[in-house]
């Protein structure tokens, strides 16, 4: 009996000893990297960043098409868990994407789409706020860390309301108060105004960080799902965020087009 007990204790001890190692292996992000700190002591994520993937075309794995490179997809598990009626809507969106994608109207792209919309963005940190300045459309996001909760809704903002906090070295951003007018990509993936996004920015080295966005919208999806991709720090000498004045390019083109349908009331 004592031998069995001793063996059990020994076994338990080795399981306990092994557990932390197993735990490390299961963590998506190695804890080894310690980022530099801002003057007020926060992990310093400042700089110019950009994704390098085809998420702007389609979050799911996709084949190549004319002008569209193939991509492995950024959705964990591979497939977005649409409700049946929403899946039909996504299919319809895909077929009508040449005209129906709100990006064609140069509208603000929402979150997380702004992150992987082509072009770089710059992160600027202050004590109670992280500001992201995007090249695309000169868009701005303020991620507040001032202790205020989300303001009371309903509010339908294009880019939502962002409240941020630090979990270790990870910037966690909770985003709500969206409208239902934005898509997630050029393939028709979409959401309702009940969209709730939780973003995580985790620095992994001086040169890259992991970006994750958990997407919850019970009207559209059967369960929360997640996209994940690295953000790369732009390394070019003198790199700077330039200008993509989408509305100006669009209006100039449409003004010159005598058969333009742009100057008709929108149906929403």
């Amino acid at each position: 009996m004592k031998r069995y007990l001793a063996g059990f204790v020994l076994g338990l001890a080795s399981i306990l000893a092994l557990a932390p190692i197993t735990g490390v292996g299961q963590t998506a992000t190695p804890a080894a990297y310690t980022p530099p700190r801002t003057p007020d002591g926060q992990p310093d994520l400042q700089g110019v960043w950009q994704v390098m993937n085809t998420a702007a075309e389609d979050l799911e794995a996709h084949n190549g098409r004319l002008g569209v490179p193939a991509g492995q997809g950024v959705v964990e598990g591979g497939v977005i868990p649409y409700r049946p009626e929403a899946l039909a809507k996504r299919k319809e969106n895909f077929e009508k994407r040449a005209t129906a994608d709100p990006e064609n109207g140069c509208l603000l792209p929402g979150v997380p789409r702004i992150t992987y919309t082509p072009g770089p963005f710059q992160i600027v940190q202050q004590a109670d706020r992280v500001t992201i300045l995007y090249e695309y459309r000169n868009a701005i996001r303020y991620l507040y860390m001032n202790g205020n909760p989300h303001p009371k809704g309903p509010i339908d903002w294009w880019m939502g309301d962002s409240r941020a906090r630090w979990e270790g070295n990870t910037l966690v951003v909770d985003v709500v108060h969206f409208n239902d007018q934005t898509w997630f990509d050029r393939a028709g993936n979409f959401h309702s105004e009940d969209l709730h996004v939780v973003e995580r920015y985790t620095p992994l080295s001086p040169y890259h960080m992991q970006y994750e966005a958990t997407i919850e919208d019970p009207k559209t999806f059967t369960r929360p799902w997640k996209i994940s991709m690295p953000l790369y720090r732009r390394q070019e000498k003198d790199v700077e965020v330039l200008e993509y004045a989408c509305p100006a390019y669009l209006l100039e083109r449409e003004w010159a087009n005598p058969t333009s349908t742009y100057f008709q009331p929108w149906d929403f």
Partner: protein, 346 residues
Amino acid sequence: MSHRLVAALTALVIALALWAVMPVRVSGQAFWPKSTPKIPMAPTWVRQKAQLPPFTPPRLADGHPNLQGAWDGAGGDGAADIEDHEWLDATTPSQETFISDPADGKVPYTPWAMAKHLEIRKGLGRGWPGEQGERTHGATRSLCLNTVPRINVDGGQEIIQRPGQVIIISSDVGNFHRIIPTDGRPHIGPNARFWFGNSRGRWEGDTLVVEITNLNGRGWFDTAGNFYTENTKMTERWRLVDPNIIDYSVTIEDPTIYTRPWTMNFPKRREGTDNRRLRAAAFAAVSAEERRASGYVENTAPARPREPNPYAKEVWEEPCFEGNHENTITQHESGFKWYSGVTPPK
């Protein structure tokens, strides 16, 4: 709020800038009765700043002056016409010129450029003297397209300084940010042309000097057709002359359309200081009868109790372009053409 309501509210905000198309009924402080005293701009500011005592600005750790914080625009009517003008309607009060040099406060156009300016001006459909009833060119601002230096005139801005960079964010007129390198790097190549141009900053003593080149020449300084070209170079100077005042000037050079360099100059006041008082004083200077006669709608709702608002200092989304589609349609249907700049003679 429903999307329609947001769109309607945004449209109302835009309507304040969309003077060219329709008469605007407004309530609130952006309303200027006819007897509003002339809004001071460059001439008054040049006199005022000459009286200021010497000022040593607070500095950041890197030794440069600390310009950080939230700053107002120029006040008044924004830039309806950068030159001195009389009262036009409730959105456009009598206002001094923005131009401190030359002394006459006028843009020193060459004869060719002056003819071009008058040609644009007569087709503004706005009610300015000299118009001939045509509608040729609306101002890009009413299409939610921002330009420099107009953005410094129009609304509030926040300045953030970082080593090697000055960041200027304008968030109350749609989205606009400038990230100005101050690390001595050269301008971008000459074929790249931008609505905001390409900005390079440097410190000359306590003054932030920003050179803007690579402009696409498609913007105006105002809504009255005062224009620049692709050849124009702008040099901005930002200097603290008081804890709450930046002396802002921008010198415009372009031998292809101006006979000499010229300069706009006005104060940018720290948000929450003088501009609000100025507007309130101008508003209070006229009688309620005259306000009503001019179309002002008095707010008769009982005053809401003032509670401390924890969100008061946050900047919330106010998209300009998203809510402006109906105004864009109106501009298009009214016959306004797209302005793609001018080509001066060689």
